[in-house]
Assembly symmetry: C2
Homo-oligomer: 502 residues x 2
């Protein structure tokens, strides 16, 4: 019986209207590193350097070592060196198994975004460098993947999507009606030393709301991320959100008359707490016009983990507290209170946030932040536009996959083609093409065997692609206008008329 011959790690289902995978989630560990192309296979082809000097000479590089034949017309063999078969350092190929996972992830990003009424947008991966020039000492700025193009323009591979979004919002101006609810899934780049297995590119899911000044915006964004978490099998005991507001810092800085233009810089310094020594943090804060007293007070505020304590410290009247209180109250209504925690130390590493900031974290504390976002009401004016209230988040494709792997929640995804069609005779190859076409016109997916192969090979391939049916085109049946249809799960075999094939 032609049951599935080789068991497959992933199980992939096609939906007629959907391009990626429908999941089956199982709580178990898979000992495979998805999203990380193997760098071992055929390493022998690699050269130690990945770059080949350009030969600018116009002379022909006539080589005689390779003989062409009528069977294989020669192409010019210009590349003297063997190329590196790996993608450039820090980047990934997506072979089919990794692509299925990426599509699965993006599918859920899209589905959640659309359930929340967001529209998809995108921007060029290559942007003007000017879009990312900020002076706050952000990590993202230091890691800008920038170039000079052939027209002597300073360009950069986008490190994030928000500046492009801001640019487009300014460009659209009054032609769009607010609020805008936009999402994007785009590749972002950073040029950093390749430590800790961090890559130089990742895909990022962004959702942004433009035109809503109220904390309702942030509450809705967090709700969408939680909806995503739930869909992929994560619960409030797996992940949570740390929430604060930059207005907390602002109120402290105001007490100590720290110049307002230092605000972004101070936030970036504080975001480095835990990543660099506290002495360096204090030194950096001193150089940002903060007194020692102010610094100690600030650090004390940052240690607060309850709104009650924050109220003791800042009083009940400030916006920081009322925003945060409203967010926690909305969280109750949405039903996600247990996911949310006030943590004054959260500031996020981007200069442009102005209000609520949040980050998703794994409760086992092993991984970097899963996602992060907040309110950025003043970004547009830094680009010369009129400010609009705005909030949004970024959610990368790297940490979440790590987390799913840790929790044994990676989906089983496998190729699945409904039918495999094969002729039993060289002369019937054209007939097999006709059969494949009939099935495809009826919406079925068909892997057509394009060569003459033994039946054993065909069954093996059928198993590999998880085919449901094997359709054999043989002489005797074909003369009757029929084909042999074998249901692979049961072994049941029928002769079916071409016009009854479905």
């Amino acid at each position: 019986m032609p049951a599935i011959l080789n068991s497959s790690l992933f199980n992939f289902h096609h939906h007629p209207l959907f391009s990626t995978a429908v999941l089956s989630l199982r709580r178990h560990h898979l000992n495979v590193s998805l999203f990380s192309a193997s760098r071992t296979t055929l390493r022998a082809y690699s050269t130690s350097s990945s770059s080949v000097p350009i030969e600018s000479s116009a002379n022909q590089n006539v080589r005689t070592g390779r003989s062409g034949s009528a069977t294989s017309p020669p192409v010019e063999h210009d590349t003297a060196q063997k190329i590196d078969v790996n993608p450039p350092k820090g980047t990934r190929d997506f072979p089919p198994e990794d692509m299925r996972l990426r599509n699965w992830l993006f599918h859920h990003f899209r589905e959640v975004s659309q359930q929340f009424g967001f529209e998809e947008v995108d921007f060029p991966v290559l942007e003007s460098e000017a879009l990312y020039i900020r002076k706050a000492g952000e990590e993202i700025r230091d890691q800008l993947y920038c170039f000079e193009d052939r027209g002597n323009r300073r360009v950069a591979l986008r490190p994030e999507l928000t500046p492009s979004l801001a640019r487009l919002v300014i460009q659209k101006g009054k032609s769009v009606s607010l609020p805008l609810k936009w999402f994007a899934i785009g590749q972002c780049w950073r040029y950093e030393r390749m430590t800790r297995g961090r890559r130089r590119e990742h895909y990022q899911w962004n959702m942004d709301i433009i035109g809503v000044p109220d904390v309702m915006g942030e509450a809705e964004l967090i709700s969408s991320i939680i909806t995503f978490f739930k869909r992929i099998g994560l619960t409030a005991s797996d992940v949570g959100f740390k929430v604060s507001s930059r207005k907390v810092l602002q109120e402290v800085l105001k007490c100590y008359s720290v110049p307002e233009n230092m605000f972004g810089r101070v936030c970036i310094i504080i975001d480095k707490i835990g990543k660099i020594p506290m002495d360096d943090i204090r030194k950096d804060l001193l150089s940002a016009d903060m007194s020692e007293v102010a610094i100690e007070d600030l650090l004390q505020v940052l240690s607060l983990k309850s709104l009650a304590k924050l109220e003791e410290k800042l009083g009940a009247s400030g916006e920081a507290l009322s925003d945060l209180k409203q967010l926690f109250s909305l969280a109750e209504k949405y039903g996600y209170s247990e996911w949310l925690h006030f943590d004054a130390s959260i500031v996020r590493g981007l200069a442009y946030y102005t209000g609520i900031v949040f980050e998703g974290f794994d409760r086992e504390g092993k991984l970097r932040a899963i996602c992060g976002g907040g309110r950025y009401d003043r970004l547009l004016s830094t680009f010369g536009g009129d400010d609009l209230p705005a909030c949004g988040f970024g959610f990368g494709d790297a940490v979440i996959v790590e987390l799913l792997k840790e929790r044994g929640l990676l989906p089983e995804l496998n190729l699945q083609v409904e039918n495999i069609v094969c002729s039993l005779d060289q002369e019937l190859q054209g007939a097999a093409c006709a059969v494949a076409t009939i099935l495809r016109e009826k919406g079925q997916s068909v892997d057509l065997v394009l060569e003459n192969k033994p039946l054993k090979w065909v069954f093996k391939r059928a198993a590999r692609i998880n085919a449901r049916r094997l359709i054999l085109v043989g002489k005797a049946e074909w003369q009757k206008g029929m084909v042999n249809v074998k249901t692979l799960s049961t072994g049941e075999q029928l002769e079916i008329k071409l016009d009854e094939l479905e």
Copy 2:
């Protein structure tokens, strides 16, 4: 009656399992230029140059012109100049309306590929420049968007996908079972003078078959493109394929003892016929070691438009003829003969093709080639790998959209969110969040009104997003655990219990 208030140009449907748009095709003209972001709006924000010099000074750029307030904490205003609100020259933003069209197109690319049993793959958009260094004088090579990165590596934004695919195939080596049937949809870049409205980036759909030496491969690829054309409403009277084989040229060159290593270069020169003056073509061919007699004979062969004439010229024994005959015979079996035409002048502009070549063209002759492809059995060895028989095609996103516009076949795509949920009272905003969550958990899409807005505004928004239902959360109903549900197409209005809401 709350019917749709403002008529919408496009009509967008959500499918619960599908992220992009389901089309409704209509044969009429839309006088809008999709896929071309408006460059007029807010042009006032643009500077004449798109690049802003980097300020390298470490000093703080303390500016006092902007006052921060507790309401809007200040961010550092580092960008002195107003930025260009347009994407970099030759690139595109994808605002929602353009993104819907892109998703629609990609959806059909994916669906067709999967119907043919192909698996999706992807590669880095930034590749090592070495991958594209070929000496044949290809247009694609001259337009390489290349840089030196911060690690002094020569890198390039990929101009095409095939070299990356070849790299990955070599890397995977014997770990994959042949044939591979892979497809990809990726952005490709070329740096060219911005003439004739050509852009510097485009998305390209590729399908490739690795491991099949027989013309069945090419026939299957052409069948998949035709399946795509049919899906989007194009017929054999709109488009066709010009088909030839590079073996035709090879046989002619062999007669005249033209060195084999000139083959790729001669193909590239011939591909320029019609684009540059014939005198230049002749001059280039002379410099490629061809005699004047050979050139005239070659040009005569290239003018042939029937296989019978080709057989007269080359005899019946060659591979060129037998491959082409087989392809036309298979086309009959597939049922797409009327789409296919032999045209000896087709060679395609890439150096690596070795056998059958084909291109899709519009029958009105107004547009550049819609797509192109062929057999490339010798590409892997140019990268230091073992050759494998291979064929594939590239299909860009630009010309096809032009063609659909010409033919009035652009789909009507519009945002559609199933429900709009709104509280009638500031105090009930949390209740509205709860209602939105209930509906979303039941798989419905919900646009939640995040501010207090007058009902008139809400109806307008409902129309803009093509909502099916308006759900109002009012005090009286809420106290009874109910909400007001209005079906917008009929105006029908019902009070429904929360737990009966679906």
